[in-house]
Symmetry: C2
Subunit: 138 residues, 2 copies
DNA sequence: GCTTGACCTTCCCATGATGGGAAGGCCCAT
DNA sequence: ATGGGCCTTCCCATCATGGGAAGGTCAAGC
């Protein structure tokens, strides 16, 4: 049995976050010693590592909770897990696309900016917005 | 002169956020009517639109502040603006790459999961972490 | 047995950007 | 003058994370 600090080191999840996960019900409440210290065994550490890895893969907490439920109940169809993973892939895809659009716009703007010592870079004009006349701000 | 609600509609920035931007110093404090209402003119609306557009392009508030400073002082070299934009492109690149790595890992896992009615999907094993034996959690 | 230092506990606060909502004041049209 | 819609400030919540204070505990060294 380990203390929360040891479990943190073994799992890569900070002690702060372990307490938070417990508080929010993501993980079950840890056992306690007579004096109130939380205790963790290998199983608990593995759960924490599971959470860590899922978070690293970009799963939001809510989805991590679903994955944990599936993990706890091994009789669930693998299709459920697969669907969660596929949904996460799709979510990442959407966010990647959004950012790529931002990038494309910025690249376009950068190409139209001399980048020399002169003032007047069209990027600022674009940001100022086309709808109005390019009045200089106060 | 418009009220905050009109400025919000004209700029696409919510009234809440306009007050927040003012509070945090991103934009200068608006003028006030005798009875305390904030007033906005076309220039202020343009600034708000500037902020909105920059945020849409993924610039963090801090960078938006820098861009605004550059905008306010048109004598600054266009190189400054270009560098900010390029840095933002690079930042987006890093985040995109991170997410693509997550995607790749997930795709790999999904390919190894039958996705049928049987239990036991290797995704869960991966999440559980290789370092230990695949002990089932409590 | 006592001190010391490392650890644990809970509790509160902060982040960043945004929204929700309450309580109270203002403005304009009817 | 009344009502509805707008404004004001202030507080609270989000999500996941960290910082830090105040106080208890444990183990090692003397």
């Amino acid at each position: 049995m380990m203390t929360i600090g040891e479990a943190a080191r073994a799992s890569g999840v900070s002690a702060k976050m372990i307490r938070y996960y417990e508080e929010t019900g993501l993980i079950p409440a840890a056992g306690r010693t007579g004096s109130g210290y939380r205790t963790y065994g290998p199983k608990e550490v593995q759960i924490l590592r599971f959470v860590r890895r899922a978070r690293d893969l970009g799963f939001p907490m809510e989805k991590v909770a679903e994955l944990l439920a599936l993990w706890r109940d091994r009789d669930r169809a693998s299709a459920d897990v697969r669907h969660l993973a596929e949904a996460q892939i799709a979510a990442l895809d959407r966010r990647i696309r959004e950012m790529q659009e931002m990038q494309a716009t910025l690249s376009h703007l950068v190409r139209s900016c001399a980048g020399d010592d002169r003032p007047d870079c069209p990027i600022l004009d674009d940001l100022g917005g086309h709808p109005g006349e390019p009045a200089r701000p106060a």
